[in-house]
Symmetry: C2
Subunit: 343 residues, 2 copies
Amino acid sequence: MNKRTKLKDIADQLGISITTVYRALNNKSDINEETKRKILDLANELEYRPNSLAISLRKNKMIPLVGVILPIINHYFFATVLKGIMSNAHLHNSLIIAGESLQDPTKEKRILDQFMDQGVSGIIMAPARNSNFEKNIIPLLHKRTPIVIIDRMYDHYKGNYVLTDDYGGGYKATQHLLDNGYKRIAHIGSTDDKSIGTERRKGYVAALNDAGIFPKEEYIILSDIDNPDTTIEKGYEAAAILFKLKNPPDAVFAVTDDIAIGVIEYAKENNIFIPEELGIVGFSNSKMSNYIRPRLTTVEQNGFKMGQLAFDYFSKASSSYGEVFQKTFDLDLIIRESSLGKK
Amino acid sequence: MNKRTKLKDIADQLGISITTVYRALNNKSDINEETKRKILDLANELEYRPNSLAISLRKNKMIPLVGVILPIINHYFFATVLKGIMSNAHLHNSLIIAGESLQDPTKEKRILDQFMDQGVSGIIMAPARNSNFEKNIIPLLHKRTPIVIIDRMYDHYKGNYVLTDDYGGGYKATQHLLDNGYKRIAHIGSTDDKSIGTERRKGYVAALNDAGIFPKEEYIILSDIDNPDTTIEKGYEAAAILFKLKNPPDAVFAVTDDIAIGVIEYAKENNIFIPEELGIVGFSNSKMSNYIRPRLTTVEQNGFKMGQLAFDYFSKASSSYGEVFQKTFDLDLIIRESSLGKK
DNA sequence: TTGAAAGCGTTACCAC
DNA sequence: GTGGTAACGCTTTCAA
């Protein structure tokens, strides 16, 4: 495998100077048409591509490049976070280089390395679920690269972040169901114990405990919700398990709107009336949650604002040493029909 | 405003060599703890940040950068196109630098210029609705920058593209409604005459004509569907207009699933039965289309495949001069409940 | 019309 | 332990 063609290669092969080659390739004046043609031809043949690194370095004009890594790029929440980041990046004349980890820490690490090689001035990322924090993120801090973490937290991380209060959201959702008279509240969550779902589950458990209820183990279904294209089905399957119990639940707090929608699907097909027989609360305020029937009560997550703030924090962190920026957004419950209470 | 601190600045101020400063800042061995501390202190004070451009240049790591511009980044279709592009970019060891034009040609042009400054090796873009083709895109072709256009076409463009057959999709959708016995078929489209919606509308008109039906003007409602957050409402409003006609339609072909969902909303609230009294077909096969009740018949648009192919074309175009790659995807009708025919 | 050489900021090698 | 210097690929200035 041969190396990338550079100006010198062309110059050497043609027995002319680098400068001349440069002029030909950049449409400068003062160049013989004949030699110019020869140069262009050879450049094409050798597939010459300018090295943007060298150009930027030399011109000393670097538009700040910010690396953004998200687990799933076409997930509405993450896509909206990206939109928020971009909207502020645009105002600050920064460019966004984006990568999708697909929840794979190895892929995440690779993207991170590529970003650094590409010369990003910092990173904004929502870590993959099992992201190896020590291996993927700590090294960046050592390199003094500004980094802002979104959405998912790690115990010993002391840097910049923009989070949502998932614990509080889970708590609110569960308490809302309790307030509306539901007693046997089940939870469908994620198998992955490192997901943000864990915090939502903890909130659920805490709300039950605070109400003097000890959550039954059989009421907690953990499901593999890796693939966004199948989560609705996973919700459906989980509901099927719950309703085959001797004493099925009268409410479900689902870790995700899609899961909740799967539960609604199941309920409809099995003539279980919502909200009279079954209360449901989801999580995310996805577009669909407001158009499924019955409309789904859910917990709002404002991705756009989070993205904007993440960029602001990145920007501040870039120009101030040592200072740390952290924010946890409160999550609001959006009450709709699916949880209005038992008859 | 003072310039960015570099290694030499620190070395000069301390009267030591660049090499030593380098060692201190990169945790190399063979360095006196005392001097190391002094260097680190001064580095902090002067807010030293390594120039990643220089680092990458020196280390000779260069990853091809591909610029991607989309009108709306958190729109499911575009987000999925982006995902498709990224999936292939990842395989080819390329990085994606992304921008959102928000349908603004000026913004689009600015992003394009920034991308070029950043040294992208090419562009994949879904142009903004009113994009000034001559001004925004033609100049790139002159610079020999490989470019692939997605989703929206221009009359005199002869370069690489990946499109969908929107005309055919509109035709199929309308014919399907005719086949199922609907006679008075309305259409809700986009006000913007440069949108892809125009092709869908043409398909609709052609299908009616081929069936010997002359489309009534009052059955064609054009709506401003710029803002993805409000399209469902727009569909609702359009339906309200249609159903206040003396002779309301018995079917609607909507330019978008969201519009169709708005129509379903209206029908439900006004006790118009679907599909018995009103047949509906949407466009895009959005996630929601399969979970709204009744499930929405729609035209499939495979963003992921389009994105993948767009990257492939980009890749081929990069390594072959002059050759042009073009593809128009056929669109399949996904038949669900909302169009099953009149009773 | 062409070419030589300095320099962008960092790293790596070799010499002291 | 420390320092000098070449090199990464390109642009720019000055000289021929």
